[in-house]
């Protein structure tokens, strides 16, 4: 098995599939020279009761479960092409591979009397060419990354961010995706501080950018958007603000703008404190964390209060879209930006990005992504999204078997002093918050989803649980 090689794959988009069956005909022509669909390697599900079609086909899994299930070595993943190949000579027809595959990718053909599976037609799949609605595409994963790489980086190189800065990574990716037709607000904080905004041609941003006060980020963007609406131009309003400008100092204007449904994308870069002014505590600094204003000494052991749950607070504002993100999960973030761009045409889209800071949190710059990942894997930073349109809240990266919070805390210097009791407290709060979220997910998908759509009921239910 060659790991890490970018194989081509048949990508399936069920939402585009109209169930026409052309792929089946093409597969039959290529593989069996008969008209009997039983020989087709691609098998669309046809749903009678609702408009749902999906082609069922071998995924050529990276870690296939059919291959080790074969007692005679007749199935193998080709390290060059990535195709899971079936060798007729070696197959004994025991069908154990069909027990291994959870996707219906390898099936028994009762006429041919052996199993059949997709082999990508030796690198030129017949089904791709005939799929008019483009529900099937033949491409590699790397092409997708390349697509992002090909988008223009709207920040100049050489900004003055610290080594291993999560914010720099975030602002480059965000503007790539949101695009040049944007007015950017970067208030006091790291993003402004690294030179994204300046004067006399020294601005590092290639889009219109301004430097609001900490207190009026959202209201200035609201005004700018209303002006563009009046003159009939569709321009995206984007805020890249820190947690101070979002959860503390700037909260009143953000809360007001969210309540009025102002059209913008507001991204909170939560590095859990005032990192560019000397690492002071903020409302999102977690319990137990060291900062220069929550010192560690004989009496104090870091912050004594839990952080506020800012993304949930924003969900309570009836925002069009609310999500959390971590840059260790970039695909997830890109998907959320897509939804945020669309939602910002109707109202506020708020994304809360977990943003570890090597300088202020005391860890090596090389560990940035690992810290960002462990935050999610411990469930301290659950990844979820809420859409007002469908009234749906869902986990986008559910962590069913979270690792203990120590695994995350031990990576970060600001937690070095924690006592077992403090770690226990953090674990408990983490568990409690996940439970609250799970209850939301369940509740929104059942009762309120269909009937009430009334946020106040939820607020009533949870008002005593939110910490």
């Amino acid at each position: 098995m060659t790991l890490g090689k970018a194989y081509k794959t048949i990508a399936v988009y069920p939402e585009k599939c109209d169930g026409c069956g052309d792929c089946v005909q093409a597969c039959l022509e290529a593989k069996s020279y008969t008209k009997n669909p039983i020989h087709s390697r691609i098998k669309p599900i046809k749903e009678i009761h609702e408009e749902f079609f999906a082609p069922v086909i071998c995924l050529q899994c990276g870690d296939p479960s059919c291959v080790p299930n074969c007692p005679s070595g007749a199935l193998n993943k080709n390290p060059e092409s990535g195709v899971v190949e079936w060798n007729e000579e070696k197959c004994v027809n025991c069908l154990l591979c069909t027990l291994g595959c959870p996707y219906g990718g390898v099936t028994y053909d009762p006429v041919a009397e052996h199993v059949i599976k997709c082999d990508h037609c030796a690198g030129d799949p017949a089904c791709i060419k005939v799929c008019k609605p483009k529900a099937l595409e033949y491409k590699t994963v790397s092409e997708l990354y390349k697509k992002w790489g090909d988008l223009e980086d709207l920040f100049v190189p050489g900004v003055s961010a610290c080594l291993g800065c999560n914010s720099e990574l975030l602002m480059r990716h965000t503007l790539r995706k949101v695009g040049p037709d944007t007015v950017l607000a970067t208030p006091p904080g790291c993003i402004g501080g690294v030179g994204s905004v300046g004067y006399n041609g020294l601005t590092a941003t290639k889009t219109p950018v301004f430097f609001p006060l900490l207190t009026n980020i959202a209201s200035m963007l609201a005004g700018a958007r209303r002006y563009y609406n009046r003159i009939g131009r569709d321009v995206t309003m984007l805020a890249l603000a820190g947690d101070g400008g979002t959860a503390d100092v700037g909260f009143q204007s953000l809360s007001g703008a969210a309540e009025r449904g102002e059209q913008m994308i507001y991204i909170c870069i939560d590095n859990e404190g005032y990192m560019n002014t000397g690492v002071q505590r903020s409302g999102t600094t977690p319990y137990g964390a060291w900062t220069s204003t929550t010192p560690v000494g004989p009496a104090l052991r870091g912050k004594t209060r839990d952080n506020k749950n800012m993304p949930l607070i924003m969900m309570m504002h009836n925002c069009e879209y609310v999500a959390t993100a971590s840059l260790a999960f970039l695909e997830d973030y890109y998907k959320k930006l897509d939804k945020a761009i669309e939602a910002s045409k109707r109202g506020m889209a708020y994304i809360h990005v977990f943003s570890p800071c090597p300088t202020g949190w005391r860890f090596s710059p090389s560990m940035l992504i690992e810290v960002a990942r462990k935050g999610v894997e411990t469930n301290m930073v659950p990844l979820w999204e809420f859409e007002y349109k469908t009234w749906e809240l869902r986990f986008t990266y559910p962590v069913d078997n979270p690792v203990p919070v120590e695994k995350y805390l031990s990576l970060v210097g600001k937690y070095r002093h924690l006592s077992p009791e403090q770690i226990k407290h953090i674990q408990e709060v983490t568990n409690q918050r996940i439970e609250v979220l799970k209850k939301f997910v369940k509740m929104l998908s059942t009762v309120l989803g269909q009937n009430f759509k009334n946020i106040f009921l939820i607020m009533f239910f949870l008002s005593f649980r939110l910490s």
Binding site: M1, L3, T9, I10, A11, V12, Y13, P14, K43, I45, K46, E47, F52, A54, V56, L59, S65, P68, N69, P71, S72, G73, E89, K90, V92, N93, C94, L95, L96, T98, L99, G100, C101, P102, Y103, G104, T107, Y108, P110, E113, E137, K139, V141, L144, E331, Y334, K335, E377, T396, Y397, V399, D400, N401, V403, K407
Partner: protein, 433 residues
């Protein structure tokens, strides 16, 4: 020879569980030293052996891995040796030639071996078993000489050999102690249909019967049955059951029962020792008991978990529990059994059965609390892997049960899409498209 070597990972046994674990270890630890001790080399699967007898596959092409694989994976092979003792305090094993290997982490995947039944007169010189390539060669040698054969035990292997020998023109008779053939996997109705097919090919199955005495006369094996019959055959093949091979653990601290007891991550009672496959006694899916599971797919699942656990991967999905499952092909027909297909008490179970005698199609689905818990089928076109996942994930089928039993292929694929496939696709949308 008193030679002592050291290895990070030591694997005892080289079939499916061991090889899957090895692959998994190398995914997470590309460099750590691995030593594999195997009685036989190159590795092969016992499952494939009957197919050699009926000529479906050549005995030279059954090997699962070769020298190139092991050198690429940087594995030190100890071929044609077996382990005689494990010292868990010193983390050390002793081989049959006195050689000692010290390990940091040990995986026991030593499998199982046939247990000939305690019948008076039964002697290994004419009673064959089928577990190794040597057994196959012995049977093939005899097959050219004999006109008839007796098979003791109507399990999957026994019935399979009966068919293989019958295809060579040998008259075969099968004796089973329990009231049905293929007990443990197939339900009574299904096994009755299979039995009829065997009978139409002149293979008689004596069920609810057992051998009281075996003897030889005039170069033939004579078996006297409990109910008075007297059967004769050129050879006797005993496939009455297997037992887990862990004799070498007698003086170790590893807890055993009928197999080596393991937890959800395949770890034994000793911290740095794991076990998987036929030798492991692990959680049952349907009960709190720990059971032996002798199926190949389970060995793969267990091997994978053990490999991850041995490296110390943090986020391991725990072993979901063993679900009995198997496929069985006979005279051009295909049978499938999975899960709880034969509930003893009918209380609380919903059973849907469909039988088309002319087309020889049979299908049975068993539900409990609106979840699929088992099923069996003959010649019914199903996606077994999808059904198995419906059982394992306890997918609620209250709304779709009627449609499901009417069209299990379409409905199970739809459920697959709407549950795990959609979930996975959304999670890594950008990988698959």
């Amino acid at each position: 020879m008193d030679h002592k070597s050291h290895t990070k990972y030591l694997i005892i046994g080289g079939s499916h569980a061991g090889l899957t674990a090895l692959d998994e270890i190398r995914v997470y630890d590309p460099e750590g030293s691995i030593t594999l001790v195997s009685k036989e080399y190159p590795p092969y699967s016992p499952t494939v052996l009957p197919y050699i007898i009926c000529g479906k596959i050549n005995e030279r092409s059954i090997f699962l891995r070769g020298d190139q694989y092991f050198s690429e994976k940087k594995v030190t092979l100890v071929k044609n040796h077996s382990v005689v003792a494990v010292d868990t305090k010193a983390s050390e094993v002793t081989l049959d030639d006195g050689q000692r290997i010290q390990y940091e982490k040990l995986l026991i995947v030593s499998g199982a071996e046939p247990t000939p039944p305690p019948i008076p007169g039964l002697s290994p010189s004419y009673a064959f078993t089928l577990r190794t390539l040597v057994d196959v060669k012995r049977i093939l040698q005899e097959a050219g000489r004999i006109q008839s054969a007796l098979v003791l035990g109507a399990g999957l292997i026994g019935m399979h050999i009966a068919e293989c020998l019958a295809q060579k023109g040998i008259k075969v008779e099968v004796v089973e102690m329990l009231p049905q053939i293929l007990p443990g996997y197939f339900d009574l109705e299904c096994s009755e249909l299979i039995r009829r097919e065997f009978a139409s090919h002149e293979i008689n199955c004596y069920t609810n019967n057992s051998a009281t005495r075996v003897e030889t006369s005039n170069g033939k094996v004579v078996m006297n049955l409990q109910k008075g019959q007297r059967l004769e055959g050129g050879i006797l093949i005993a496939t009455t059951g297997v037992r887990a091979c862990f004799d070498f653990l007698v003086n170790s601290e590893i807890r055993t029962d009928r197999g080596i007891l393991v937890d959800d991550t395949m770890r034994t009672s000793v911290e740095n020792v794991w076990a998987a496959g036929d030798v492991a006694q692990a959680k049952d899916f349907f009960s709190d008991k720990k059971v032996l599971s002798a199926t190949l797919p389970d060995a793969v699942v267990q091997g994978k978990i053990a490999g991850k656990a041995m490296v110390g991967v943090e986020s391991i999905s725990p072993y979901p529990g063993s679900i009995p499952m198997n496929t069985f092909n006979f005279f051009g027909n295909r049978a499938l059994a999975m899960g709880f297909a034969n509930p003893e008490e009918k209380e609380g179970y919903e059973i849907d059965t469909m039988y088309l005698p002319t087309a020889k199609i049979y299908q049975k689905m068993v539900f409990k609390n609106n979840c699929l818990v088992g099923g069996s089928a003959i010649n019914s076109l199903l996606d077994p892997g999808i059904l198995l996942n419906l059982i394992r994930r306890k997918v609620d089928m209250a709304a779709v049960k009627a449609e499901f039993v009417g069209n299990p292929v379409q409905m199970s694929r739809r459920l697959m899409w709407k549950t795990w496939r959609k979930e996975e696709q959304e999670r890594k949308r950008d990988d698959t498209g």
